[in-house]
């Protein structure tokens, strides 16, 4: 069987095509603790790329509320329910990926994606027209306990919780859309790993709509082709961050390029410029992939939200959630100045960051050797009392900074 190595699952996985990594891999990091679901990213993308006839339902970037939100409806739960048990042994994934669920022998020519019914061989589903109708489904709906009038939350994990999950194409190393395309019209660019659909070759078979478990390949009925996020490559080729990054009001997004672990930049940013994506993902392991168990090695990474329960987050981001929390808390305690500086660099520049370093009490961002951002590592902050007494009653604050 064809085997490709997936470092996020710490094992080889099955995929219809041989392993081939680009010269460098487009990557992103979103800090979910900062997202306020203002949807500016969504509109920045919509007005740039998907405002034409036939694209009404398309959101290459969307922000959904978890746990109850999903666009298209139930995109993740419906695929997860196809995949059966998803157990981890430490950092090694022991369950099936979407290409393994059906026990298909991908070496058998009859099972090749160019043959009929590849979609039957992969876990997942084809979203129907109605599934695209509710981009705001479940918005701001909390999970957990019932809210009582005198409640206040003292623990990091809140008993009542929700969080916002911004989603774009993950430009996966083993892209499910490309793996499933029966006419081989989808490809990864060697220079940056961006996954694109060749509109000249697309025959609108719609298999990519089904085999992308993130549902980011979407059919355009007006043009009769499928379309997807292009990673704003016309901008990134010039060093500029994509539209949804540049317009992010919460400054939750970082755009850069990531290496596989064995090639990762292990330098110390307090001593020399360091690849920020490698630093976040490989060195500090604070940013985690979304649904790594799908098996595609997605290249958008998330700092999980500390207010949500760990068991739920582990289903989304794998087994590294507790460690990521610990590191995130260390930032708050002032024990991770390089990380703190890097998180402050996010959104401070419209450029992609290929390196950063600590310079005294400032963090400095670079694109291809040119300085493109400089921020203080610790911003001045005022902290109020956790509780005030008002009219004889104690009034608690959720946000004291």
């Amino acid at each position: 069987m064809p085997q490709v190595y997936n470092w996020q699952l710490d094992r080889e996985v099955e995929f219809p095509y041989e392993e081939a990594r680009p010269d460098r891999q487009w990557a992103a990091m979103f800090d979910l603790n900062k997202c306020i679901s203002c949807q500016t990213c969504t509109l920045a993308c919509k007005t740039t790329w998907t405002h034409e006839e036939g694209q009404e339902h398309m959101f290459w970037n969307n922000v959904e509320t978890k746990p109850y939100g999903s666009h298209p409806v139930g995109w993740d739960k419906r695929t997860l329910s196809d995949m059966g048990s998803m157990e981890w042994d430490g950092d090694t994934y022991e369950g099936d990926t979407i290409f393994e669920t059906e026990d298909v022998d991908w070496d058998d020519p009859e099972n090749h994606p160019t043959e009929e019914d590849i979609n039957e061989d992969v876990a997942g589903f084809m979203p129907g027209t109605d599934d695209w109708r509710y981009p705001n489904l479940g918005e701001d709906e909390p999970a957990g306990e019932r809210m009582e009038p005198d409640m206040h939350f003292d623990e990091d994990t809140h008993p009542i919780w929700f969080f916002y999950l911004p989603r774009i194409c993950n430009h996966c190393t083993y892209a499910g859309c490309a793996g499933g395309c029966p006419v081989q019209a989808i490809y990864k660019r060697p220079e940056d790993g961006v996954v694109l659909i060749d509109r000249e070759e697309c025959e609108a078979r719609l298999v990519c709509n089904e085999t992308c478990p993130y549902k980011k390949a979407q059919f355009n009925p007006a043009e009769s082709i499928s379309q997807k996020c292009v990673g704003c490559y016309p901008k990134t080729e010039d060093g500029r961050a994509p539209q949804c990054f540049e317009n992010c009001l919460g400054k939750i997004r970082l755009h850069g390029y990531i290496n596989p672990p064995e090639e990762a930049d292990d330098s110390d940013p307090t001593e020399e410029p360091t690849n920020p994506m490698d630093f976040l993902v490989h060195q500090k392991e604070i940013a985690l992939p979304l649904y790594p168990q799908f098996g595609l090695e997605p290249n958008v990474y998330y700092i999980p939200p500390t207010t949500a329960p760990v068991d739920y987050l582990e289903q989304l981001f794998g087994p590294g959630v507790e460690d990521a929390f610990e590191t995130y808390r260390a930032i708050g305690d002032g024990d991770e100045p390089a990380l703190e500086g890097l998180l402050n660099l996010m959104g401070s520049t419209e450029w992609s960051l290929t390196a950063f370093e600590v310079d005294g009490d400032e963090a400095v961002g670079y694109y291809e050797g040119d300085e493109v951002g400089r921020v203080p590592i610790t911003e001045p902050q005022a902290e109020r009392d956790r509780a005030d007494e008002v009219d004889g009653e104690e009034v608690y604050r959720l946000d004291i900074t």
């Binding site: 064809p2 095509y17 041989e18 081939a20 990594r21 680009p22 509109l43 007005t47 405002h51 009404e56 991908w106 070496d107 090749h112 160019t114 083993y174 892209a175 490309a178 793996g179 081989q184 019209a185 989808i186 490809y187 990864k188 660019r189 060697p190 694109l196 060749d198 000249e200 070759e201 009219d391």
Partner: protein, 312 residues
Amino acid sequence: MSDFSILGGPPSKRDDESTVENGTARDDRETDADRRLDPPPGDATTALHRARLYSLLALGLERPGGDGGLETCDITALVDAAAAIDGTVEDAATTVSDHLTDTTGLADRWASLFGVEEGHTVSPYELTYLPGPLLTNVRQLADIRGFYDAFGLEVGEEMPYRGDHICYLTEFLGHLCLREAHLRRAGDDEGVAVVVDARRTFVEDHLGRWFWRFAGDVSAHDDGVYAALADLLAALVEDEIATLDLDPEWVPDTLEVTEWNEGIFGETGRGCGGCGADASGLDGLDGDPQRGGVPTTDDLPRGPRPDRPNGS
């Protein structure tokens, strides 16, 4: 396993690369030689005539009063230019000429029709006529500016209008025609093909879609020189459409509330269309029509005011 790798350039281009390596040719692909355009039919003199007429329209549809306005035009030459193009165009140009014998009150008439001081009676801006919310139509503005940029033009800093103003569109078309005339005289067939192709696209994607709505609206509100200019614009663009064999997607014949927001936002949907502002919340704030509909505090709903906390 196939030799295909998901890593690589566009599959359609990979085929092209392999044919080069193999020394074979694929007959279903257009080559650069195929794409090279034959020079479009026409001649330098006609192009020059068109340039003059578009320039006349640009000057005529701009606010009067500046230097170098309509009164500086050689009207006889313009009528001759129109005659060289088409009988309908000539008739329209002659009517313009007749109205230019007396230009008193022209500035007031322009202000009444197109000026912001009374609100546009007739909008001179393309975006007004396009279907759909402004939020998505701004791309058309970017497209127009892209045309100007491509030919090294930009709107002068002292010019007060947005890039989709009718006087800029006509001036740009005049510029393209003037370039065509020069290129034809220089025997530059490729250059001629480029500028004519740009004019073709610009008319089809922009002015050709809505000129008839503009001309109709002007004629409905004016019976003087501006109606004559609008008729000349319509005659010239119609001739362009026929000559260049264009098929513009015409805008709706009325200002329409677009399909997606119709019934939700009503006419307020013609705003930016992006924020989803709900006009129903403005019920009761319609104001007194005698005051022009501007709401005052008297129009605000009455109700108990909440008590303020102590000390605040």
